[in-house]
Symmetry: C2
Subunit: 368 residues, 2 copies
Amino acid sequence: MQDKSFLMIPGPTPVPESVLVELARHPIGHRSKEFSDIFMSCTEDLKWLAKTKDSDAFIYTASGTGAMEAAISNIINPGDKVLSLVIGVFGKRFSQIAQIYGADVEVMNVEMGKIIDPKALEERLGKDSKKEIKAVTVTHSETSTGAANDLERIAKIVKTHGALLLVDAVTSLGCMNLDIDGWGLDVVISGSQKGFMIPPGLSFIYVSPKAWEVNKKAKAPRFYFDFARHKKSLAEETTPWTPNVSLVCVLKKAFDMMKKEGLENIFSRHKRLRDNLRSGMKELGLKLLVEVDKDASCAITSIYPPEGVSVPDIRSAYKKDWDITVANGQDILKDKIFRIGHLGFVSDRDIEMTLAVTQKIFAKLRKN
Amino acid sequence: MQDKSFLMIPGPTPVPESVLVELARHPIGHRSKEFSDIFMSCTEDLKWLAKTKDSDAFIYTASGTGAMEAAISNIINPGDKVLSLVIGVFGKRFSQIAQIYGADVEVMNVEMGKIIDPKALEERLGKDSKKEIKAVTVTHSETSTGAANDLERIAKIVKTHGALLLVDAVTSLGCMNLDIDGWGLDVVISGSQKGFMIPPGLSFIYVSPKAWEVNKKAKAPRFYFDFARHKKSLAEETTPWTPNVSLVCVLKKAFDMMKKEGLENIFSRHKRLRDNLRSGMKELGLKLLVEVDKDASCAITSIYPPEGVSVPDIRSAYKKDWDITVANGQDILKDKIFRIGHLGFVSDRDIEMTLAVTQKIFAKLRKN
């Protein structure tokens, strides 16, 4: 049905009406006082969301992958030893970018759907008595599987070792608790089309004082994403290059909504959406990729199709019969699982609807 | 007056109603057939706009500076000799990025408001008998001054020499004729908030077959802006990373308008806006930074304030009394000139209004 499309993919996500209405306004000038005020308000709200006073927060006009590259290019020098914790496609991308920038990358990986065992990490870092490992890359919530690492524990272990911790929080920030100052995260990235409830086009990056120290010696050529250039402009309450002014303006609207809901309510809502979707899918007899409940991301759930039913048929049924877009698996999980995003502007009603629709879909597909 | 703001800066520019209305729609999934169709249509229209069949056209979620960095990082290796033709702030930025990527940069520059003398370029390249100069960077329309180089003639000279020509067409594309295949341009960049009439957040880059040959040997670390990754995805009718889907969808709307108006009409409209604004300002007794009419950009005009009147006072009068935002000068021209953008969604009526308002402003300011 026209205009009834509903996105249940892990970004872009549904967008609140007040954001859409704001998007339809004429852009304002990016060197105006009006824009500076909105931009600085968003910068402060970014710090509130990730619980940091010590880190700087920058807004890039780019998608999350741009911020991921920035986390590497502003920190890593050729030959630096990097330990990449890989639990899926996006963790792999982080390690790949580190390799492209000349890092000596060691990958610790697990089966898709599992998370990093903190004890294995502790053991590995414990062996690095010469402190050769300069940085650890980790994915908080892995979009390709729906598994979520125990970031707090990982951070504690990495802190004890002394390496920098670079965190992909693209699908976790704004959905799951993340405490930059409390946990000691050094570089954290995220993207607008996720927990932030606005369209894609902006990404966010946080830089800790410890990361700034390392950044001083970073030699990779860089310009657009250069931390120092963004910091210099931030001190002048602006951006170094023309930002996506429309998205920054709607980001403020989204933050207003988030602050009204409150951080703890946002996190508990996402946890409830996850728990209800997982238990509902299990009741429908479906198997989940992430088996252990506490290892499951609050942003996205990966589901195996029932025996004899194909993922393309399932996605097609959601789309054609119910106007719902769900995601396929990625990489080796393509056509093996389907993924339902439940991050950002998603309510309990949406999960109930999804379960009701899913029941109808499988009743029909199993019959055929 | 609320909601009456009118931008006459060189981007962001005014945005047509049909674009604003489209912006207010829910984003669609970026891996959908629906999005692929829109994306491929925009890619084709980009090629139409810059008159190329041979070059690839990519859409980046980034501002023009990101595309400028891409033009360097995908082409230039450390030690490569680059000749940068600098007529203002953005030409300087191009040379600066080349330096950051390790190029041996030679700058040919002129006074702000002037353009590159093709004969001087011919002479310089003529002396390079060993063909050591690998690439020439040039700004078509220099946003900081409102001067526009004779790109066709420059391209001819560079082609005779054999170097690659990297072109900043951020404020010229969609305003002034630019013929990639006909003139032999190798890498051309532009941005969405200019002649394209949509908000900032996308940039565009064209890559010629000759540039692809050089790209094969480019060694700088790069990922987000990497030509090859974008080309691989383009073959699959998609983008390598999540694009700003909303802006790509409205870009299609803007292209529909541009195709309806027709390329020659677009160019002649911009030329008329420039000519009328320039002659009107001269009639008001104001001096223009770009003295020679044919050297003036069709996108932006830089104007000296009358003796005894300050640029901040002028900008404040436009803003407070008339709800019009005009730009200050940049760099050494700050507070020395003010700049009026007339690119994109600007009509003859807007120029008449601007001249009428300008007359009132100076009548008042001169009296004080």
